[in-house]
Amino acid sequence: MQIFIYILKRILQSIPLLIIVSILSFFIIRLSPVDPLAELRLNPSVSQETLQKETERLGLDKPIIVQYGKWAKSFIKGDLGITSNGEQVSAKLKERIPNTLLLTTIVIALTWLVGIPLGVAAALNWKTPFDRILTVLTSIGMAIPSFFFAVLLLIFAVKTGWFPIGGLTSSDFLEMNFPQQVWDISHHLILPVTVLFTLSLAGLQRQMRANLLDVLDSDYVKFARAKGLSEFDVVYKHALRNAINPMITLLGFEFAGLLSGAALTEYVFQYPGLGRLILEAVLKSDINLVMASLMMGAIMLILGNLIADILLIITDPRIRVKA
């Protein structure tokens, strides 16, 4: 019961945060001297009526505060307006968000599966050659610019022909049966996942290593050793549990970093995700689309942090007591 109250509280707390985010992004976008409907006006397939409706919906003839109010109202209703091509913004987002989520979830799962054991192994072999080699490798992983790495992998894909170049599906995707479709998507995902995986593995591995080293240094671990527990029990039953908790907090940050890192990677690989959508929208100064995808990015980030917090309550009883 207590847990639910705490979770509810956390959810309620994120609402004012979202409001501030929306005000902030709205004013930043409106700072630009661009006419938000310029593209629409130039597009011959967009009718005069649609233009009139958009002007009214955005309240462009009114002061900026009123404009914000109007925007917020239609946002809550789920009406995000239309893009400069005349498409529904919400349809566009619905198409792109799952792709970005798919990419980031796979990357997070993989980094945890590989990064945590590597971090533990490095901590247990502290200052041995194994540990040092891992440190050098992670330093290199952290220093490669994601877009540059992506470009290099593209060269590799072009030269060997082992991987499809960009996109998420092949052109004959719709004619495939289900297992073929799954294979097609995973085949397209390999390269972008490799880039983001390398990018985030290093940080996770180092943090895990540092946490475990800290915990192994603490009194209760010394005590556990002193009373004659086997090394296995000391590390995996006592130390590891405490070392993992801070990593869960990091999960939220990792998600944030991935959303940002994914934008450039998606751009290079022509991956149909949210990051590339917002980039294209920015380059075309498609204001409705920019605003909506900015909000979606923020919501995803806040949700990511929320999930991390909730997981933390489940794994760490001390927080439950405090709450």
Binding site: V21, P145, V151, L154, R206, A210, A263, I278, V282
Partner: protein
């Protein structure tokens, strides 16, 4: 403290190498006008995309000779419908050191003509090939490095005072001030940073001078990073604000701003130094990412990011791999900064075991 840090840096093998590499890079960038065979804006359109110049030290008779090079000529191969680059072996161009070349102003003030390495006026010495406009990639790497390697530092010098003061005030005052200020900072942090970055960059009006654009990009980079930093500073301020020396300062009537700036913030010094060295690379990466997308530094100015823009085309990356060199330089610079940052953290925060 600085001397102590430096001594420790020289003791660590990796950090020492990193320091030497960074020192060499910055020295080369400082002397860019002199080292580069060409000025930043020099272009020879007939030389678009020529490969790196081949330098010969053994002449056609098989004898040792002064180093010389041949110009490339572009030929259209009508059978394969391709442009080929062949050496024009009719005229040798000897490579000259400390010879007169294109006039330039050293550091923008002293007019000079001598270049470290150059060749005859009608010869073309493109050590790392040329780009689409027939500009020397090697020269532009040096000029572009000036922007890429300083922009991160400048952004930090804008961001850290803001973050320090913001976090200091929020932490010291506490209560409602703290709540409002921190909610705002959290909101800034809730927007994925790269999304915010490209949106801020996209509202920059076109038609600015390159200096104005450079300064505005510095400010944008600073706007992205201050919030996270302010939050950590606030945490540190909370932990020291009730200590005796702060109460002592209060009791002798020091103003609140003075207490924050003079007594509390200095306690965060070692954290600030560590955070600064560790965040330089991320700003170098942000700038290059932004310019790579075409939203950062604009042509004809060079930065490592916008030079890599040409690598977005498949034909370029496969047939003209020399256009990728800025990427390797970014990698080396970031790696070196990371190694130094790690060592500095070890020195200032001996308990930390991240490394």
């Amino acid at each position: 403290m600085i001397r102590e840090i430096f001594k420790q840096l020289m003791k660590d093998k990796f950090a020492k190498i990193a320091l030497v590499i960074l020192g060499l890079i910055y020295l080369a960038l400082f002397l860019a006008d002199f080292i580069a065979p060409y000025t930043k804006d020099f272009s020879d359109r007939t030389m678009a995309y020529v490969p790196p110049s081949k330098i010969f030290i053994i002449n056609e008779h098989g004898k040792l000779s002064m180093p010389y090079t041949y110009n490339y000529v572009r030929n259209f191969d009508s059978e394969n419908l391709r442009i080929t680059y062949d050496l024009d072996r009719s005229k040798k161009h000897f490579i000259k050191f400390f010879a007169k070349g294109q006039p330039y102003k050293f550091l923008g003030i002293i007019p000079m003509q001598r270049h470290l390495i150059t060749t005859d006026p009608d010869g073309r010495l493109f050590l790392l090939g040329a780009d689409i406009n027939g500009r020397d990639v090697f020269s532009r790497l040096l000029f572009g490095g000036r922007i890429s390697m300083t922009i991160g530092f400048l952004a930090l010098f804008v961001l850290f005072p803001i973050g320090l003061l913001y976090g200091g005030i929020a932490g010291y005052f506490g209560g409602i001030v703290d709540t409002i200020m921190m909610r705002f900072a959290e909101a800034v942090m809730s927007i994925p940073s790269f999304y915010l970055l490209i949106i801020l960059a996209s509202i920059l009006p076109s038609g600015m001078t390159s200096v104005q654009r450079f300064m505005l990009i510095v400010i944008i980079l600073a706007l992205i990073g201050w919030a996270g930093f302010a939050r950590v500073v606030r945490g540190m301020v909370l932990s020291v604000k009730n200590q005796e020396y702060v109460q002592a300062a209060k009791s002798i009537g020091a103003s609140r701003l003075r207490i924050i700036v003079k007594h509390i913030l200095p306690q965060t010094a070692s954290f600030v130094i560590v955070a600064m060295t560790l965040s330089v690379p991320s700003y170098i990466l942000s700038e290059s990412g932004l310019s790579f997308l075409g939203l950062g530094i604009q042509q004809p100015d060079a930065s490592w990011g916008n030079m890599l823009k040409e690598a977005q085309e498949y034909t370029n990356i496969i047939y003209r791999p020399w256009l990728l060199t800025p990427g390797f330089l970014i990698f080396i610079a970031v790696l070196a900064f990371n190694l130094i940052g790690d060592t500095i953290r070890d020195v200032l925060d001996p308990k930390s075991k991240v490394r």
